[in-house]
Symmetry: C2
Subunit: 417 residues, 2 copies
């Protein structure tokens, strides 16, 4: 039997779509890796009634129930009061939290504690306090029957800090250890339906306790195998045996046997080869660059990127010949090739990827149809570009071009081995 | 009385945290703007049992219930079957959908329809089909009592296309029109608690039907006023009257009276002034550049950006003097100033923002403490840089530096007026 968890995220800003609920994603992923089966993720309003109702409904349905949001010092934050009332408890001032809040304000904001801030030190008398090292609102843990309830603030880095530093050790000590094993196989360049046809026989032969999911996105499909149990090694072997049986017609589209985008494979390959990469982007607007820049330690293989959004910048910054642009058009094979070549030279990198295209939503003054893009690749051996017609909407064009650009440069790297 | 809606997103990839649930955000925002009160957003597994249970639980609790996910052609997608069974209906082949899928595959994928693809044309016999112009899985609408149920695929651009082209017209025709009015006031450079103190009297005087929320993030706090009703003009006036009463000590931190980041104000200001901007980024890794590049039409004021991640690229691409870097350190006021100056020159822009810093998570070989950053600003009149100590974690350092850089350049633009 799985340990189960339910995640409750509180806040009108989620229900009206003002923010993306990344806290839910973070907690889902972490709880899954701790071996929990997540029953549901639910978002409710930050009213006393909505919070009370959801607490009553989910009480007893899971081993662990996590709540986030509504713990701020302002009047719209009511979670703590409802949480406390739900357990018929009363709020008391916690001296350790008071000390922590006082120090944090003095050291970081350079001002004394206010009456509003002091409210942050109130916690239910029976709660275990989960220290918030990086903020003022502490986490709180209570038990009801066999269910642990945990309340955490909604500010992502505060919630993550409490979760990792306080809750993970508690869970490991107090709840039984089980495992969810997922293996995600990344394919590029093949559609979901065709993949399903190739896999039909293999899929029919999967054991009952192994589940398979297809996760399509523009340019790639992820296949995820999942299994749950108590013997880690046995579960790993079970999954590996199935992966080993994947048919050849599928394997040729696989770029990774882990849940990693092709960018991670490229990073590894660059480290192996002791080579570097750079980017020159137009309509992809820095998506490729940021994909590499957001990884700590990327400086070992990522030299940088340039977003030449204005045509004039392609001339000024990348040194593209103005007459070439006039003759061929800014969205052309020739310009994509020059962008890649010049990025490689400018950043002194071994590989470079360049994008130029008409992503829409309107045709603008470009002389190519909506969705037409060129991707340029420069390697130590060659420079070339390919044309793609990626249709619409803009979001799909950008995502699919990013996928294709990465796949193109990765294939060149494999030749380079 | 509000019209109410509930959003159900289906898929293990959400529950195990493999994807961020942006569909929920999109639908929440759109339903809110159509006048719905969203009761809850819930994510469940893609098993028949989980889908059946959630359908039973939410049935009758809202006027509109939207489901997304699990409509693909592969075996792990079971939503359509459960949806159909829930209404005691049977699946029948829809000739229009069959024709559409056939054409799409022939025109876009250049291959004939397969048996797996043909399954996409099956819909419950009593369903209203919502055409999916950009994909193979159609949307489906059913009525049970006073509740409308809608099933849509989980691929974001397919779901969005069906929602806008098919569902919005249906809702406008068949459900009464009411309004949610939100006004979000963006403040930069003041903490949540201090803001609450300044607002105490004003907040105590808010009418009962107006709600106020504080939404803090690193470097900025959003204040959101919300009200619901049937008379749009009256609601707008009610909110405006309250905004007009905001105390002066708060107004000085306000950069916008709409739910827009300061980047949108900068864009407007640049358009007004007919000036342009560019970026030179180090630890922010392209976040500033992408913020501007992702807006269609940005080419009128955004020239481009360069991410000089490697120190060598600061020398090669931005032309920073190597001896200056050796003398002052790569994270220094002098280097931030040169980066801004050179970005402005390179991209021929009127303004430029540059970032260099030690965002962590480890100190690396930099000679400054973790969290130390310098932000450089170049304008038609001046070039300068400021130092900030933004602590940790990395995510907060990047976000707060982006906020501060934008605020700094915006303040210079206002002087430039």
């Amino acid at each position: 039997m799985n340990l189960t968890a339910t995640i409750v995220t509180i806040g009108d800003e989620i229900l009206i779509g003002q923010i993306v609920n990344t806290n839910a994603t973070y907690l889902s992923k972490e709880l899954d890796s701790l071996g929990f089966k997540i029953n549901e993720v639910v978002s409710v309003a930050d009213t006393q009634e909505a919070i009370r109702n959801v607490l009553s409904r989910v009480n007893g349905t899971a081993d662990l129930i996590l709540l986030t949001g509504g713990l701020g010092p302002t009047k719209d934050d009511v979670t703590k009061k409802v949480f406390c009332d739900f357990f018929n408890d009363e709020l008391v001032q916690n001296p350790e939290v008071l000390m922590h809040v006082t120090m944090l304000l003095e050291n970081y904001y350079k001002r004394p504690i206010s009456e509003v801030n002091k409210l942050q030190a109130l916690v239910p008398s029976k709660a275990i306090v989960l220290k918030n090292r990086v903020g003022t609102a502490p986490g709180m843990l209570m038990k009801s029957g066999n269910t642990f309830f945990v309340c955490m603030p909604g500010v992502p880095y505060e919630m993550e800090t409490i979760f990792q530093e306080e809750l993970v050790p508690f869970v490991k000590e107090n709840l039984v250890k089980e495992y969810n094993i997922h293996r995600t196989i990344m394919t590029y360049g093949v559609g979901e339906s065709l993949l399903a046809e190739f896999l039909q026989e293999w899929e029919d032969g999967l054991p009952n306790d192994v589940s398979l999911a297809y996760l399509p996105s523009p340019g790639s499909v992820r296949l995820r195998l999942s299994v749950h149990g108590t013997d880690y090694d046995l579960l790993e072997k079970k999954i590996q045996d199935l992966v080993d049986l994947l048919p050849n017609e599928v394997l040729k589209y696989v770029v990774s046997f882990q849940d990693e985008g092709i960018d991670k494979n490229i990073a590894k390959q660059l480290l192996n080869l002791q080579k570097s990469i750079s980017f020159a982007e137009s309509f992809t607007g820095g998506v490729l660059t940021q994909l590499f820049a957001s990884v700590p330690g990327a400086s070992a293989y990522f030299n940088g990127g340039v977003v030449t959004y204005a045509t004039q910048s392609k001339i000024d910054v990348l040194g593209i010949d103005e007459t070439l642009i006039c003759k061929e058009g800014v969205v052309s094979e020739a310009v994509a090739i020059e962008m890649a070549r010049n990025a490689k030279r400018l950043f002194k990198s071994d590989f470079a990827v360049a994008t130029t295209g008409n992503a829409g939503p309107t045709k603008g003054d470009l002389n190519v149809p909506l969705g037409t893009v060129f991707i340029g690749i420069a390697t130590p051996e060659v420079v070339f570009a390919k044309e793609f017609n990626l249709g619409q909407p803009r979001e799909k064009v950008v995502q699919e071009a990013v996928s294709k650009g990465l796949l193109m440069v990765y294939e060149e790297m494999l030749k380079n081995k």
